[in-house]
Symmetry: D3
Subunit: 333 residues, 6 copies
């Protein structure tokens, strides 16, 4: 099977224990994560050969990131080693009515400082079937949008499935800037993924979200027409509290809208649930699933991620399928 290539930043995450504020005691939980790295990690676990492309420093901190990915079966041989530092982010999990808090310390990272010549498209896309990145990546430096476009172009040219998750991060750039750069990337994108509300806002689509499901269809149709995209996948999250979220998704293929079941899920750690959606969706598409199967599978993976500490969706194909089949969750039908 040909591989998925994901491109982006991987960071060290530092989190206090559940129920504790930052530095409340002298211990931090650590893990490594980043949107595209999380996608590669899940795809690899689901049986898709996956390679993560990034630049990380040639020190023990970088080694830690490599070990994390290798352990999950991600190919790390294309990772460029060099540059200054691995980005760090502090993540304090919320609880009850207290929201989660994320503090980035990623400026000056090896990845943000990397340039187009760090990446060799020929090597990167050998044997590849798909290329994935998210809207976080072009936000990381002035040069990054061009690097992303260049790689997307190359991927397109080789006939790969190019997927792009809008993934807006307001701490990195504003919506206007995101729109501007995303519009330069979208011409090379086959599969566009986004939170429905985010896409609606950033692309000023103006769908009436009072009726959420039809808003999904409006957003998907608009993106499709406006940017000539083949497939649009949207997710909808409702924050019921820091401890409970509603979640569902939809795929639109230009003709039909395939909605998943709607879940209400508790939250152990919601970071990476969108990435789990992406990873499971891509894996499902690469395996040739139909749209309805794919959206149920992707949403089930996203929901399951909420139950796991850290960035990574430690999940097997069987576990995701069991939930998608309605095993014993408290699905709202």
């Amino acid at each position: 099977m040909r591989k998925l290539v994901a491109f982006g930043e991987i960071m060290l995450r530092l989190s206090p224990e559940s129920g504790h504020r930052l530095f409340q005691n002298g211990t931090m939980r650590t893990c490594f994560g980043g949107s595209e790295a999380n996608v590669a990690a899940l795809c690899a676990q689901l049986g898709i050969p996956s390679s993560f492309v990034t630049k990380i420093p040639k020190n023990e901190i970088g080694d830690g990131a490599v070990r994390h990915l290798s352990g999950l079966g991600v190919d790390t041989s294309l990772i460029v080693r060099g540059g200054d530092r691995l980005g760090v982010y502090y993540y304090e999990k919320g609880a009850c009515e207290r929201p989660s808090k994320c503090i980035y310390d990623r400026a000056g990272s090896a990845f943000a400082g990397s340039g187009i010549f760090d990446y060799d498209a020929g090597m990167i896309f050998a044997d590849a079937a798909a290329f994935h990145l998210s809207g976080i990546t072009p936000a990381l430096s002035e040069k990054m949008p061009d690097i992303c476009i260049s790689l997307c172009k190359e991927a397109r040219a080789r006939g790969l499935l190019v997927s792009y998750d809008l993934n807006h991060r307001s701490k990195l750039w504003d919506e206007e800037k995101n729109k501007e750069e995303s519009e330069r990337i979208l011409p090379y994108v086959d599969l566009f993924i986004s939170n429905m509300y985010q896409a609606n806002s950033i692309f000023s689509i103006g769908a009436d979200t009072a009726s959420e499901e039809s808003a999904c269809i409006t957003v998907a149709r608009t993106m499709m027409k406006r940017y000539d995209i083949k497939t649009v996948a949207l997710t909808v999250r409702k924050t019921l509290s820091a401890d409970e979220n509603g979640f569902y998704g939809m795929i639109y293929d230009g003709e039909n809208a395939y909605f998943s079941k709607k879940y209400v899920t508790g939250i152990v750690d919601r970071v990476g649930s969108g990435d789990a959606f992406d990873g499971a969706l891509i894996a499902s598409v690469l395996k040739g699933s139909d749209m309805q199967t794919a959206v149920e599978y992707a949403v089930a993976a996203a929901v399951l991620k909420h139950s796991i500490e850290g960035d990574t969706a430690y999940l097997s194909d069987g576990e995701i399928k069991a939930l998608a089949a309605g095993a014993d969750g408290r699905v709202q039908r």
Copy 2:
């Protein structure tokens, strides 16, 4: 007061921290448990002299199991030391929509390898008032059913209260085999305990579970008539999610059905909640409670167990009574 004797296997349990998948970090929580051991542990805490009979290896792993039981006041002097290994089970607690996962590594245990001559009924039943075992035990080896029957016979012959919790484990045997062996044991049983759905299915009773309460009565009546049992206690659990369960129980004495209140409980760790039901029920019966008191007490113990990490119901008589009295739970009336 004369003692309760419980017979079965005790294992080492290994669990990752809450919200973590197996081996996600380098730490495991350990405890010792097993259905009948958990029953003895609760009975001892509730003031019933309790003795646990099993066979465990003569090494530090076996010593750990003995210390656990002794610490809770269980008499361990009848435990046979010898044989190969202590069974292990890995238990990954579920969360949100992710179900719990149990991986047995109990084959070849000292207990499974034990034979009838390891157990001296004279010594075991001296000063005993009751004998308890569960359907897990006969499932553990080819010889086990005969050992169980032999001990039940002896217990019956001495006038003990013999209790048997059906406790079907599909990873150990199938329902047909369970039925076959249970039917050889039931003639010596005074108090039959089971999840209502399990009994209904294994004994092909065919109660209509659309009306759950009347199904309870049908199952109880059928078991009673078919196997000439004096008392039947049934529990009903509804899995609302990995984090929330409904739970209630019923005792049927041939004339009346005594239903407990119906609880909805959160879940810290549901392992051992059925055992807590058994233990509290037996303790209550041995103390001479009436049926309504006994079922409320047993269900309250089972519900409280959901709030405690590990296999063991660390509970006092006062705590159970307080909940049974409706203290401040969110009881559905």
Copy 3:
């Protein structure tokens, strides 16, 4: 800005890990806390210069308490060092249907053994704007009521805002005794704070709690008239389970009753939520907020405290305001 002075006991708190019973494993979480100390700690974080007055032993246990308070910005220079021991309390957090359990080991503490000559009102009230204590303090020794009254008198005489949280602790004294001593203190109190049900019961007000909101008004009016108090703040808590509480508050200024939004909050640790109410209320009042703003702010702080392990409300002004503004909690309107 002039300072708040809080007077009371600070103790070492020992808690097993979440989901564990006391001594279930060999680890305890420690923190330092006490009602008035928690108030001072929050006020200091909210930008009110705050000083905590108490007596603690001159040993490493006392040093630990001082470090805790200093780290949060509380002035500890008025703390008297001497006497025998720091009080200890064991706090086992409840879960599901299992209630929390609090075991005091505070008898014979340095504070309880302190006398009037340990405290120098001149130094204590220099530059002070407010003086706070709770009903726990007079309950701690025979001499304490007189010390409290003496300090309240001095504070009143200097024109400070004197606040008193009824805070009944049934393990320390009975309701009658509380009433008797509180009635000696109330003449010097400007701001009376209490759980509505507690005040209604201790002062035999007889408000009809079937209608909870009008009971709040009745209790406030009665207290105001009976004891000539300027402002009454009441809180109402509903224990839905050990994991979920309802919570709201009201301020009555003699003319109007200002009710906060009503929250349903999950519970990581509810200890100190009432103290967070007090601290945020006092801070808000000292900053000159209007009553509606103050009650929303105080209730938001109390609700947020439920999400944090330990006694201390580690909270910033911005976090409290965000929830009060209705950020994304699951507020019942």
Copy 4:
């Protein structure tokens, strides 16, 4: 086999993690211990039926102490439940050149408050072969010396082996007071145990410690003659650093002095090593070992205790014998 009875106080011990100062982070390791309790715990592990007699409060803290002892096989049925609190001690382990620090918070304990009528000699000494206590016990209250003497007398009268470890604690009383009370106890003592230097000082024996071994003999002879004691066992410890101690022992039977090997041992936790000496010595004597065997065994147990966190010598007979046989320690011959 007839049992050993040990009498004294058991406390909750709270310790920061190794290498940490008190309250440096928010975690404490807990265990239960006390000199005589530790003796009983080791004897029980070595196969001597052992009963610990004390008074502890009827709450969960007391329950924790009981579970600890029961888990090790100590009979706890003679423990009186009642009174106010369980004593606490904070123990910060030293390291390198930093000495260990012990802060007692034991005043007002249930045991210290107990009286002679709490203890029923008839029940306590039924089936007993030996009675052990240490010099800590009479130091705990004004009534304690009389209680100790009364129990020693009863034990003597019944022909039990009465052992007394001088165990001076300067934080509890001064040497003069210790001497005075010990002299009232010694007439009933068969086996006197002490650190040689302590005995030399408290009883003003004046042995020349320049020659340590002959000082041992002088101290033993003097004690024996002066107080008509049958056997004297002395230990000698050299503090090389907080991480390394020298240790050896001697038994004198009136005719011969039996010296053990001399060990230099690292230190994980030296608390309870003297108690391990006592426990192993008593067990060895009760099993009928000769003096040389007994002293080697007792010293080996004491040395091994240094390798174990907490108060309790978790040790088996085989482990002690292996070291006594010279297994592969770095014994100084």
Copy 5:
């Protein structure tokens, strides 16, 4: 570069925290290890493509082992998945005078139950330069010696460097049996590695160990002649205490004996230090180092392993070279 293939068992290791006895508290540290797996893990870190061949169950426990190896860069694609269980071993680290304790629970493992048809020599040895196994492997089942011999033969036939570490485990078989089976394997071995004392005893060489260094030479010469081996590497360990060991090594190439420096090292965890010697030696040989360089490198790796918790030598080439170059250890010259 062509790869190293290592063949053997990988187990789950369970260890209590340092200074604690087994089950002293409710936590275990876990890691995965086994002699040959540890060799592959170090070789991979040192830049030698390394593949580990074994059979492990197709469950989450097996997945954990795979993740561990993959994370370190070991190729796991040749691992056979199937069979019953992953072997477990309990490892309690010693301290001071208390020796470490190892309890195997590996009977019935998937690997021990594997047969010759589980392993496909063609696939295994494709692109291989070296084949490594230890004397533990043939001890694991009746079939294992034949499997080992068959694989060694195949490896030899393909011109690979075949290395064999005698690694006697007295809990698995006795010395006679080891000798018998090793003698069937040695004809295919190029590089024989052993603890000098073990080889001397098992092969009844009778070297006079009073002069340790010349004994090394005698043992090496004898093995070489008797079994026609090209290179012999021997290690010598002196147990000074549970906390301090002496360690050095020697390589004999038929002409010269190359001795390493002699180290005295503290011990954090000595498990896997012999495997680190093997791995570093093989890596050094495959990289073409001369004998003196290789032995210094291998011994430095072994010494450094003593400083790391767990089975795995987490070490880089640079770190090993730095110590071999005499960086700042306390080398005995």
Copy 6:
């Protein structure tokens, strides 16, 4: 008493548990530290009013640093809040023959980015008696040397004791650059502190270190003459292994050399031991101690720091004096 002002950077330190390599498991110990911050922290504990001046970001990471310092009694009111990030450093403690490893991630910190206008000398030096900084500070940015010189000048002008610890960090700059900048600072320095070997090398003094003590005197005399310094304090460290160091110090006042005792100390964590020397020395000097007392006190503090995890010397005056008095360390006389 007038205060000490220390100026420099404070960082977040991340360390794996003892005996673990970086990222070996998913936990890090955190603390805050930096050379001058550590000095202020110890001075504050020793009763010297101490103020730390730095610039840190206005976020929760900065808040953590402030809380750490405030908790120890350091005045943090002069800390400038703003700028980008708090520097981070990863510190992996060595063990046995494995050296400690320090990875800086401090580039781009708020402090390194601060400018001269961030610091108001008038406010900083109000009520000050002493000003301390180390050679790390001028190495942090191009602007830093000028800021340091400017502050030193101001301090001199106000008659403060200005102390400077050379503290060379080869990862920040080379020795030549250090010399160049230090020579611009030294004209304003009263008390120069350094590791003797470092000063000898950086200032090319050429003292013959074969005789270490006379080298100390040569280095001190040369520095004194060359840069017109009043007092020179030197330390000498011998790395015996990662677990054991020799340590002593000397003060030279132009006439006499005062040597401390020579210690051999184990190592829990040696980071900050030089800072402890500085802090205790400054505190001792400010309290008016004589030179011999001061050097013994400073060295005892440095030695004791080796026994404590983290950057901070959690030490009391009494503890330091006890070791200086020769309490029971293993002092080489």
